[in-house]
């Protein structure tokens, strides 16, 4: 494997091409070589997680390959995708190396083509007095379909052992006023030109509040961002690219509803109730599809939790779920495309845009103090509930703790811009640990209910399926009991004495100022 050779690049204006070629031919040593053209297709997930990791997934002539910022990887990484369709998951690539890299970054996400371009290359050879090539020159013109502008680049590639001779040409090119050494990377340029310059903003980046601004403007800002985020997910849901689009959609709506109920009094009671009802309805429409997504994502794990001989019994259920998902997806597509949906969302979004909602009790209070007070209050609630939990506490109270933790987490995340980032990060990290255990506990409960439900409602269930479901339910029950047994220990880990002072230190001051 030969090491790749350094190249020098200059950008120029396409209209200067003729004069540049003329100047080069005046050196008397330039000969035309082979011209070529190719296409550039860039693949990434909706949140551009590959690019965030400085990784490009490209496709040429039906073959995928990676490109790192410092050049292309060896061809072993090239991998043919197995499937034709809307998106490619990490499992859809043949090479195990590619799978491992993609799995790490993509997780549940699929990649789709986010940008493409055409590259036309004119090649030239520079020869010395012996008629030996000392350098190759490529003039590359890149265009994105449907866009006006082009990226024109002159690339000088000195042959090994001829760097010094090539250097004279480089000096000559540097002196030309038409040529500029400042060249964007081709892939960055293509992404920018395709309107994919930056990934969709995350809430913590996008929501930048100041403590003095009013409660109403802050809540409106958050709500407005959440509704935009939800809307950006609609196309991906309809195209069924991956399950994360629907998940993101639902999380955005959930956060929107939470901010309305957690920061009461941003709008009038009437208005708040109206908004909450509207968004609750939007969320409810997608409940079943999300449930089915979760079951199907867990298919392998669930199947493997049973002994071999019971596993075939589950096939019937997953086949049913898959069939139901097809129906459900159709329904959601119709729902998202319906005039009624468009009108509702449009109206809700524009309300937040204009920002003249009816006032509530706390509309004019500064958000910094109100958010701090709410966070402290919910932390208090989590503390009280959590401390009371022992092995005898009824499950209902564990569920309550889970819900309170979730509220606290949303408050911390939505209002993180108001508080010291380091403190918030530590709190969220520790809270996450507790939430994971509570989440497991809840998932096992919910899954048992879902399975019992399926068992009850499905006609003509075979004996095998019934046995498998029975086995599964008791397995889930054991896991539930196990998760439950860890709750109080996880709570103590979360709520150590440091955590108490951390909350006081971070949020107490702002609250005092209010009083």
């Amino acid at each position: 494997m030969l090491e790749s050779r350094p190249q020098l690049r200059w950008r120029f204006n396409p209209s200067d091409l003729e004069s540049i070629l003329e100047a080069l031919s005046a050196t008397g040593s330039i000969h035309p070589g082979k011209d070529s053209s190719s296409s550039i297709e860039i693949f990434d997930s909706f949140d551009q997680c590959l690019r965030q990791a400085d990784l490009f997934l490209l496709r040429q002539r039906g073959l995928f390959y990676f490109s790192f910022p410092d050049g292309e990887t060896p061809p072993e990484l090239a991998s043919k995708a197995r499937k034709q369709g809307n998106g490619y998951f990490w499992q859809d690539f043949e090479s195990p190396v590619a799978q491992a890299i993609l799995k790490k970054h993509l997780k549940l996400r699929a990649v789709t083509r986010i940008a493409n371009a055409k590259s036309e290359t004119k090649a030239f050879e520079l020869r010395n007095g012996d008629d030996k090539i000392i350098s190759r020159i490529q003039i590359e013109t890149i265009t994105c379909p449907g866009r006006e502008s082009t990226l024109s680049v002159l690339i000088l590639s000195p042959l090994r052992g001829y760097e010094e001779e090539s250097n004279l040409i480089a000096l000559f090119l540097d002196a030309a006023s038409e040529l500029d050494r400042d060249v964007p990377s081709t892939l960055d340029w293509v992404l920018a030109e395709s309107g994919q310059n930056t990934p969709p903003p995350s809430p913590s980046q996008a929501i930048q509040l100041s403590p003095e601004q009013s409660v109403q403007t802050a809540v409106t800002e958050i709500a407005s961002f959440m509704i935009q985020t939800a809307r950006r997910s609609e196309d991906g849901i309809k195209a069924d690219i991956d399950t994360e689009y629907l998940h993101d959609y639902r999380v955005s709506i959930r956060k929107l509803r939470s901010v309305l109920s957690l920061i009461k009094g941003a709008y009038s009671k009437e208005e708040t109730r109206h908004l909450k009802a509207q968004f609750a309805e939007l969320a409810r429409a997608t409940n079943r599809l999300r449930d089915l997504d979760v079951y199907l994502l867990e298919e392998t794990a669930i199947t493997l939790s049973l002994p071999d001989y019971l596993q075939p019994g589950l096939e019937r259920m997953f086949t049913d779920f898959r069939a139901e998902r097809v129906q459900e997806l159709q329904r959601i597509r119709r729902h998202l495309r319906s005039k009624k949906y468009a009108a509702t969302v449009e109206e809700l979004a524009s309300q937040f845009e204009t920002g003249d909602q009816p006032e509530g009790k706390r509309s004019h209070l500064p958000i910094g103090q109100v958010a701090a007070a709410e966070i402290l209050a919910h932390y208090q609630r989590v503390s009280t509930l959590g401390s009371a939990i022992n092995d005898q506490t009824p499950d209902d109270e564990v569920h309550e703790l889970r819900i309170e933790c979730k509220k606290l987490r949303y408050l911390l995340e939505l209002f993180s811009s108001l508080f010291p980032p380091k403190e918030i990060k530590t709190i969220i990290k520790q809270l996450k640990g507790l939430q994971n255990t509570l989440g497991d506990f809840n998932d096992y409960c919910v899954q048992q209910v879902a399975l019992s439900d399926y068992l009850e409602k499905t006609p003509r269930l075979g004996r095998n399926t019934a046995a498998a479901l029975g086995g599964l339910i008791s397995h889930l029950h054991r896991k539930q009991v196990e998760a439950r047994s860890h709750v109080s220990e996880r709570f103590i880990q979360f709520n150590d004495s440091k955590m108490k002072t951390r909350f006081k230190r971070t949020f107490k001051k702002s609250r005092k100022e209010r009083i």
């Binding site: 494997m1 030969l2 012996d130 008629d131 030996k132 090539i133 042959l159 090994r160 052992g161 001829y162």
Partner: protein, 245 residues
Amino acid sequence: MSIIACYSSKGGVGKTAAAVNLAYASTAAGNSTLLIDLDQQGAASFYFRIRPPKKLRAKRLIGKNNTAYDSIRETDFEALHLLPAHQSYRNFDALLDGMKKSHTRLKALIDELSEEYDQVILDCPPSLSLVAENIFQAADTLLVPLVPTTLSLRTYEQLKEFFEDSGYKRKRLRPFFSMVDKRKRLHQHVVSQLRHTEKRLLQTSIPYSAEVEAMGTHREPVLHFAPRHPSSIAFETLWEEVVSE
């Protein structure tokens, strides 16, 4: 990585013609290839339009701190690189003579240079001296061009004996006929004679051809400027035969 030397103690038998075209064929088959021009005449370098770099001295090349790495030149053909010849190779033997491990110097050098390459090809000077011993140590395969004359068969016998006496493995020697003129009775006779007695003889023969001579004016491998010519096809076939084993 394998090392193939085009070697004969005689000049003008087609070593360079073979080395240049086999290097070209190796690259065309997808191998990154380094051709090392060990002959001070520099014919292989000439065929690729490459002049010896000013700094390259035999002492540096074989001695401790070699600058050979920096002397490697990229030919006009992708993935085919060349370490050019130099006038001062004339003093090679004298130089090697005074060195420790004087037989394995070349092998050590190639080991150092060849990391990036799949194939190394040596174009050798006609000699039976210390340089030759270095070549015998380094090469995995020695291709020996034989012009079909009785005299050249005798030279080959001598080489085999030398290998025998020095304890080198004789099976690394792979003779092939070069510059064969089918119209010449003698050529036909010698070729068929050796076919019977030498089982290491390669099947492929390189025909005598004006096109091969024309490499001197083209300054390119015949495989490049006349790829369909019978001599080109012969070099191509010779390459396939050598690597197929």
